[in-house]
Symmetry: none
Subunit: 212 residues, 4 copies
C-alpha cells in the first residue's frame, strides 16, 4: 500500500503473519501448527524461527491491535452524543469480530484466547483489553451519569461485551443450528443495532434504578 517497495524479507514476514492470523483465529494457538502456517505462507518450516524466534514470537507479532485502537480513537472524535457513539462502537466492534471480508483477525484471535490463556495473553490484556475496558467504561459513564456505581457500570460493560463476543464464540454452534447462517455486512449491522437497543435500555434501567 505504501508507495515504496517492500523487501523480499518483509513480504515473507507478511505472508507468514497473514497465514498465522488465519490459522490462530481458526484453530487457536495450540491447535495451529507451525508447519501448516509455513505451508500456507509458502515458506520454509524454519522461517518462523528465523523471523520471529519461535511460535510465541509469531503470535505476539500477529497480534496487531492498531485497527482496534484506531476504531476507538475515531469513535472518541465522532459525534458527541454518547448513545450514538455506543451504537457506533458496537457496530464497529461487531464488524471486526464477524465481518468475513473486513474483519480484524487479531480481534478474533483475542476473542479465542480469552478463555484459553497463552503466553501472549498478558500482552493482549495489557495492550488491547484493558484500554478497551477503559474506553468503554468512560463511554458508559457518560451515558449512565455520575450517580451510577462503578460496579454497576462495569457489569453493564460486561453485558455489552458479552453480547458482542457471543456471536464470535458461538459461531460454530449457531452455524450448526442454522446452516444457512452467514454474516454479511447488513446482517451484522442488524445484530449490532439489536445489541445497542437492548443495552441502552438495560443501561437506562440500571442507571435509573441506582438514581432512584
Amino acid at each position: 500500500m505504501t508507495h515504496e517497495a517492500k523487501t523480499v524479507s518483509e513480504q515473507t514476514r507478511e505472508r507468514l503473519l497473514d497465514a498465522a492470523r488465519e490459522a490462530f483465529s481458526q484453530h487457536g494457538f495450540q491447535g495451529a501448527t507451525v508447519r501448516e502456517i509455513c505451508r500456507r505462507a509458502e515458506a520454509n518450516v524454519a522461517a518462523v524461527n528465523y523471523h520471529f524466534g519461535n511460535k510465541d514470537g509469531l503470535l505476539a507479532e500477529a497480534l496487531n491491535f492498531a485497527p482496534l485502537k484506531a476504531m476507538q480513537l475515531a469513535n472518541a472524535k465522532a459525534d458527541g452524543n454518547p448513545e450514538v457513539r455506543l451504537r457506533l462502537f458496537i457496530r464497529d466492534f461487531m464488524l471486526m469480530l464477524l465481518d468475513e471480508t473486513n474483519g480484524s483477525l487479531p480481534c478474533r484471535i483475542m476473542a479465542r484466547e480469552l478463555a484459553d490463556p497463552t503466553p501472549a495473553l498478558d500482552k493482549i490484556v495489557r495492550e488491547a483489553i484493558a484500554p478497551l475496558h477503559d474506553f468503554l467504561g468512560k463511554l458508559l459513564r457518560e451515558i449512565a451519569g455520575g450517580k451510577t456505581g462503578e460496579a454497576e457500570l462495569r457489569r453493564c460493560m460486561h453485558s455489552i461485551l458479552g453480547q458482542c463476543l457471543y456471536y464470535r464464540h458461538s459461531h460454530p454452534v449457531l452455524q450448526r443450528l442454522h446452516p444457512k447462517l452467514r454474516y454479511d455486512h447488513k446482517k451484522i449491522e442488524t445484530i449490532a443495532e439489536h445489541i445497542a437497543d437492548f443495552s441502552l435500555a438495560g443501561i437506562g434501567y440500571i442507571s435509573g434504578k441506582t438514581c432512584a
Copy 2:
C-alpha cells in the same frame, strides 16, 4: 450389575469420568491429556481406550447434561410469572457456569467447546444447546408477548446467553484485570441479578418497539 454395589470396573469408569470433566473444563479438550486424566483417576493409561474407545468417546460420556435439563424442568414447574422464571433461570445457569463448589462441569466444558468444535459438538448442540434454546425461547416469548418477531426474540436470547457465558469465557482475563476476583455464591447472584435486570429492560424495550 446388581442395583446396589458397583463393580470395580464401574468405579474406575466413574473416576475416569470425573477426572475427565475436571481436566476438560480446565484445559479444554485438546489441552487435556489422556495420561493426566488417567493419572488423576488412578487408572491405567489404556483405561480410557478400554472403557470409552478413545478420547472422543470419553468426552462424549463425560458430557452429562442431566443437571441442565433438570434445571429447566424445575424452572418450568416453578412460579408461573415468566419474569421471575427468567431471573431464576439466569441465576441457576450462572451458578452452573461459575460456582466453584457446585458448578456443573459439563456445562463449563460445553461453554469451552462452543468456540472450538470437537467431534462431540454435534451431540452437545443436539442434546443441550438446542433444547436450551427452545426452553429459553419459549420463556422469552411469554415475556415479550406474541407480537415480537422470531428474529428479535432470538436475538434477545443470544443477548442473555452471551452475558452469562461471558463471565465464564473471560474468566482468565478478568482475573488478570482484577486479581482479587473470586466468584462466591453471593457474588454470582449479584451478577445474575444484574443480567436479569439488564435483560428484562432490554426485552421490554425490544418488544415494545416491535409493538409500536
Copy 3:
C-alpha cells in the same frame, strides 16, 4: 544372571541402557542421538521417554558405578601393603577404562564427561568421582606417610588419575599415531605397571622432599 526371569519391560530397559552406554561412550552425550540408541536397542523412539522420562534420565540411569565401587571395596579388603594395593587399583582402573571386552562403559562415559559438563555431571561427581578421590587419597596417605602435605598428596593423586585417563582420552590420537595399537588385557597390565612404577617413584620423591 539372577535365577529369576526378567519381565519384557526390564529386557527392553536393559537393551536401551546397553545401547545408551555404547553410544554415550562413543559419541558423548550430545553427540549420541535418542533415535540411534533406540534403533540399536530395537525399540521405539518413544521408548526412552517411556522408560526414563527423557535423554537426561537415560544418561542418569546408564551411569552405573557399582563396578567402580566394588573395585574400591575389594581393593580395601585386599593385601594390606598399600603399595601393592595402589598397583592393584591402577590395574583395575585401567582395565575399566580400556579393556575392550570387560571394560566399564559407565567409567568411559564418566571419562568423557569430565571435560564436557552435562546435566549428569553433578551426579557423577557426587557418586563416583568424590568417593574415588577419597579412596585414592587415603591410599596415598598410607603410602606417603603423615608428614606429606594435603596439597602435595592431592597433586600426586591427580598425577596418577591423569596418567590413567590419558590413555582413554587420547585413544583416538594414539590410534592414529600407531594404527596397530590395540589394548588387550596384557598390554593394559603392562601400561598399568608402568604407571604404578612411575607413580610410586614420584610419590616417594615428593613425600621424601617434604620430609626433609
Copy 4:
C-alpha cells in the same frame, strides 16, 4: 594486500577466527554454533561459509600451533641441561593449557578434541601432536639415557602429557569439587613444578630399572 593495512575482509576473518577459538575451546567443536561465533565476531551468518567453506574449515584455520612450536623451539635453544628443559617445557605447556590470560586457545581446543575426533584431528595429529611427541621423546631420551627402551620412554612421555592434560580435561570437575579453584600464574607454576618433580623421579626410576 599491502603489508601494512588489512582489508576489511581480513579483519572480519580474524575476528571470526578469534571468536571461533573462544567458542571451540569453551564448548567443543560440536557444541559451538556457527551463529554464535558469527554473532560474537559481529559478522554475517554466512561469513563462515564464505571465508572458510564450512565449519570444518573454520576449525582447521582456527588451529594455529605456531605458539606451541615456538615454545618447543625456544626450549630446544635454552640451557642445555635436559632436566631443566623438561621443567621449562612442562611449565610452558601448562601455561598454554591453563593460564586464563595468556593461554593458547588452539592448545585448549586440541586438548578437547583428543577424545572427540573431528575432521580436523588428522591435521592436529600431524602438525601438533606428532611433532610434540618427537620433541618430548628426544628430550626424555636425553634424560633417560640410551639404555632405556623405546616403549618405556614413550610411556614416560604419556605419563607426563597425561598429568598435564588432566588439569585441563578435569577442570569442570575439579571446579565443582573445589569451587574456590582458580588457576593464576603462580598456582600453575606450582602444579608444573609438582609434575616435573614427580615425573623426573618416575623417569629416574624407570630408566634405572631398565639399566639394572
